[in-house]
Symmetry: C2
Amino acid sequence: MKKGERRKSELTEKMVKYILANGIQSASLRNLAKAAGTSDRMLLHYFTDKEELLTVVLSTISKQLILMLDHTEIEQKTFSHMVRYLYQMMKDPEIKPYMKLWLELIAIASKKEDPYYRIAREIGNHFYGFYKETLKVEEGEEQEKMAALALVMVEGVALLESLDFDEHILSAIEGLEGVRR
Amino acid sequence: MKKGERRKSELTEKMVKYILANGIQSASLRNLAKAAGTSDRMLLHYFTDKEELLTVVLSTISKQLILMLDHTEIEQKTFSHMVRYLYQMMKDPEIKPYMKLWLELIAIASKKEDPYYRIAREIGNHFYGFYKETLKVEEGEEQEKMAALALVMVEGVALLESLDFDEHILSAIEGLEGVRR
DNA sequence: ACAAAAGTGTAGCGAGTGCTACATTATAAT
DNA sequence: ATTATAATGTAGCACTCGCTACACTTTTGT
């Protein structure tokens, strides 16, 4: 890797941390530059404009999140175990910033503007793929449908967790288990 | 009602429409003023500052959404009928702006700052209350738990619908019905 | 009728935004 | 060693933001 590219990814790495901690909203060039220990002038030297910069940074974050999922070497889980497990996982202080950013990305992406829309769908599809691989289906269940159901449930859990609706989440999981008894 | 208050709610009404159409993100005082047919100067005459203005406007929108829910004079629905029904409902062009705004509000509220956090929780609680009243439980189901489950599912559906994941949503609903057969 | 209060226009401040022009220095390629 | 390329600093532009100061008119209350 050339020296310039190395510097570029150094900067990217620090900006990733800043955006995870502070959100896209407060990611001005000057804020990002301060966090990366450089100047806005230099950011625009390495990136053509802010859009390309955010594309790179958000893609990096998305890759990290996907890697974390793939490296979650958990044994196959049944449906409700999976929901419980991911609910606990998203309360982890290391994971939480990713979930907050995920929600922010959804809100922005709902205007269908790239790169946000594209990246959000990419992440969503990886979530689905993860469920399809990791879900242990029981008799009478179909893999794809249960994976889709897990996707819906976990997204709902993530949304409600951000509003501290933990009691409702737990109650919902119990309701789910009651139904499939 | 005094004349001033009447004018204030006229302005509020127009700003409600603007924010439903364009989101909180682009709701600057100047944009809002233009949409309401007045000047930013006058907005700050009727409202003490932008925060109070947004509190009033967002509360109004929240009340509208809640009223729409309450006036949905539907017969009691079983769980999966409810999910299907609300999924169709949120594709209605009249409802969709509310859902987009709901997602935007969630993203902002996740920083726990008032008035956003407070309003978002208020709306969430009304959703839950709606399910608790409208869900027809079947034997072996508990009202509260099924309402919570509906809450989680519908929020998940709303999130994924904004990313156009309609196939996964439908597949999830089928999976759900398969499970409770 | 007169005073108090509410309504409205114009103009601008100070801060933040993405981005650029102009300059200089450091590094790399030949 | 010379030249081309990359890296960095300083300054600032044109714009938007929330908000305010000052002035003036209109309405309202007594």
